[in-house]
């Protein structure tokens, strides 16, 4: 048993015993070694089922709205803590109603990378540092952890939560030195090549199941723009233009909010690189507005504030002025 799991159980017991929370939201083992569940527990017996998972692709903050009115302790690595902070900033969750049990996150494994190792994955033994022992129906393999990590963990800038009520001891991954490498690869292409990439990788694959939206902890609108019928922004057929519009607006609605937890991409049954779109917006928010989401519950959100010196050289009037035409 990994020590992080022990620490989580111990801390969770304490939190419940001291009445700091009524329920604990964390991960338990699922039916398969690479599928762990987001679970709500509230008794000592149930707490002994809590784990720190090697693979936990869905963001537990997504179920917070179902637990309204209860004081919830949340097992929070960096991205979960940040999602809760954004929910607090947007008035969806009261900071006082959530107890953040911070976990210095060693990064999680990508289920598809693990599943590629064998026909049937029987067991995983993860030291949460360097190596993972994967037991498959064909035999055992020892693989470097780095090779199996999720892309968003490899690109994570804040593995250790900045906002928490209690931070467990442990060693987190180092913040990524090149979080935007994949985005820059696409940016370097020509306009037509980027359009082709968008069509092939995103639009043509999408079956519009909206799993990306449903898995997102920050997509909580009671009626999503995609479900609006008057006006109907997104047509109901699989027309590529509608699909493209859906993906653009979905990503845009997460501008300055997305915490890059990777739930959308993990939930996607068609392996669409959804994170690239939100990551691009994250990159722009950081470079143009020095903004990162989910770091401070008291700070304003990216799009609910402005600065006088915000960039405007993208505007045609500024361009014409620079050319001396107006």
């Amino acid at each position: 048993m990994s020590t992080l799991t022990e620490k989580i159980r111990e801390a969770a017991q304490k939190v419940l015993a001291e009445g700091l929370a009524e329920v604990v939201l964390g991960y338990t083992h699922g039916s398969l070694p690479y599928r762990n569940r987001v679970t709500v527990v509230n008794t000592p017996e149930e707490i002994s089922r809590l784990i720190w998972p090697s693979i936990g692709v869905l963001n537990p903050a997504n179920v917070l709205h179902k637990l309204k009115g209860k004081k919830v302790a949340l097992i929070s690595p960096g991205c979960v803590s940040r999602a809760v902070v954004v929910l607090c900033q947007e008035g969806q969750v009261k900071r006082g109603e959530v107890y953040l049990l911070g976990v210095p996150c060693p990064g999680m494994l990508d289920p598809s990378k693990v599943r590629a190792l064998g026909k049937k994955i029987l067991r995983l033994e993860d030291d949460f540092k360097e190596k993972v022992l994967v037991v498959t129906s064909e035999g055992e393999k020892i693989v470097g952890r780095e090779e199996l990590l999720r892309q968003n963990c490899l690109e994570c800038r804040h593995p250790t939560p900045l906002v928490y009520d209690q931070l467990l001891e442990g060693e987190a991954r180092k913040p990524s030195p090149s979080p935007y490498q994949k985005v820059e690869e696409i940016e370097a292409r020509e306009v037509s090549a980027r359009w082709q990439w968008f069509q092939e990788a995103v639009v043509s694959r999408c079956i519009r199941c909206y799993a990306c939206r449903n898995a997102c902890p920050l997509c909580y609108c009671p009626t999503c723009f995609a479900d609006d019928s008057r006006p109907q922004w997104v047509g109901k057929t699989r027309d590529p233009v509608d699909t493209a519009l859906y993906h653009l607006v979905r990503a845009y609605h997460l501008a300055g909010r997305c915490v890059d937890c990777g739930s959308c991409e993990a939930a996607c049954p068609m392996d669409i690189p959804l994170r690239l779109l939100t990551k691009k917006l994250e990159k722009e928010a950081l470079s143009a507005f020095s903004f990162e989401s989910g770091l401070d519950p008291e700070a304003p959100l990216l799009l609910t504030t402005f600065r006088e010196e915000d960039p405007e050289d993208f505007m045609i009037t500024q361009e014409l002025k620079a050319l001396g035409k107006i």
């Binding site: 985005v183 696409i186 940016e187 292409r189 306009v191 037509s192 090549a193 980027r194 359009w195 082709q196 990439w197 968008f198 995103v202 723009f225 006006p231 922004w233 047509g235 699989r238 027309d239 590529p240 233009v241 509608d242 493209a244 519009l245 653009l248 607006v249 990503a251 845009y252 501008a255 300055g256 779109l277 691009k280 917006l281 722009e284 928010a285 143009a288 507005f289 990216l302 799009l303 609910t304 402005f306 006088e308 915000d310 960039p311 405007e312 993208f314 505007m315 045609i316 009037t317 500024q318 014409l320 035409k325 107006i326």
Partner: protein, 144 residues
């Protein structure tokens, strides 16, 4: 007859719409390419509205509002500026011709600027040709 692009122009009620009006009463010449949608403020324009215009067959979209500091609602255009910046970057990223979506500041006294902006935007979109990428047409499933 040469092809004239269709451009949807979202003009804010307080500055740019009046600027367009001034261009008209001053008898300034500019291409008959724009279809004006009057909005209360440039920040009323959401990305879905811009993309919907393209989807519905527009060849370009122009969003114009008051200069920073001139907003009738004091700060609406400053919020809009941030949003449009991000939208433009996202559209560029996915390879939608960035010139098709343009943003401008035009005040109520800048009829000449409005005419020049429309002329320039029209020229740019003419150079790009009709919007075929992001226009919804009847398609047979499985064929593009």
């Amino acid at each position: 007859m040469s092809w004239e692009p269709k451009i949807i122009a979202f003009l804010c009620n307080w500055c740019s719409y009046a600027g367009a009006d001034l261009a008209g009463v001053s008898r300034l010449r500019y291409p008959p390419s724009i279809r004006v949608v009057r909005v209360p403020c440039s920040s009323r324009v959401s990305p879905a509205m811009i993309l919907d215009a393209l989807k519905s067959g527009a060849d370009g979209v122009l969003v114009s509002g008051c200069h920073p500091g001139d907003c009738h609602y004091l700060t609406g255009n400053l919020y809009a500026r941030r949003r449009f910046y991000l939208l433009k970057k996202l559209l560029e990223f996915v390879g939608l011709d960035p010139e098709r979506v343009q943003f401008a500041w035009v005040s109520a006294s800048e009829g000449d600027v409005f005419a020049k902006v429309v002329t320039d935007v029209t020229d740019r979109i003419k150079a790009l040709g009709p919007n075929t990428k992001f226009r919804k047409v009847l398609r047979v499933e499985g064929k593009s």
